[in-house]
Point group: C2
Chain length 123, copies 2
DNA sequence: TCAATAGTTCAATAAACGTTGAACATAGGG
DNA sequence: CCCTATGTTCAACGTTTATTGAACTATTGA
């Protein structure tokens, strides 16, 4: 569990890797929920995504999103808090993240962007 | 060779599939070159991309781009002419294609967006 | 101190992916 | 009519991918 895992610098963020990251439905849902959260506290932890898949599968997707620079992970006790690297992405690829997010929002029903608990509990 | 191959309708174009298509460096280069061409005659044929990879590999990538709705293929004699489905993409995912293209343009050197002949001959 | 909670690691698996080359199909020009 | 140019099809291949479950580590609260 130890320390905060490695992240690429802003300049190291690569377009094909980011697009590939966002092309997976589970990862797109994670990013979408992180973007929703931006308006509030900006951070979510792993457990908040349990509706999307099993824990170890989520760990796998979190790693991909982190390694290609889409999100930032912060370790706090037994939790990992994550947020979008919005500023880095917007600098590197202006308009891309917003275009993806609003396209995803249009298709929110097709893509299953909300984890079950959110759909059911709607809190 | 026969007839023009199947294309998805506008509504059938799916965001994750498009992102996945664009995440491959060769396909991104194809799309980039098609976008350059938009200002001129809007169409290019297979042979125009021979610098990017072997012919049969290109056929594979062309099929992916066509099947997920990124480009349109028109058969004319022994040639296949392709163009971006710009209007369909812009309707379905506003701003996405332009954001990808301008991001790609920024990194044009990193990503190898131009086929060798173009780099060498620069015509 | 002990148990519960949060998340990771690892190995296994099945499917999809990108790339290659050889063989094939088709159309057009001499 | 044949030859060439254009592009496809197919099988083979090695790689990467997403997913699973079981075992593990670390932190917190009682």
């Amino acid at each position: 569990m130890s320390r905060t895992p490695p992240h690429p610098t802003r300049e190291q963020i690569e377009l094909p890797l980011v697009l590939d990251c966002l092309s997976d439905p589970i990862r797109l849902a994670i990013v979408y929920q992180l973007a929703q959260q931006e308006r509030v506290s900006s951070e979510l932890c792993c457990g908040d995504f349990n509706g999307l898949s099993g824990k170890s599968n989520l760990t796998y997707h979190f790693a991909k999103l982190r390694e290609c620079g889409v999100m930032q992970t912060r370790v706090a006790g037994t939790n990992r808090f994550m947020r979008l690297r919005r500023e880095d992405l917007d600098t590197r690829f202006p308009g891309l993240l917003d275009a993806v997010l609003s396209s995803a929002a249009k298709d929110a029903d097709r893509l299953q962007l909300l984890s079950e608990c959110e759909v059911v509990e709607a809190d």
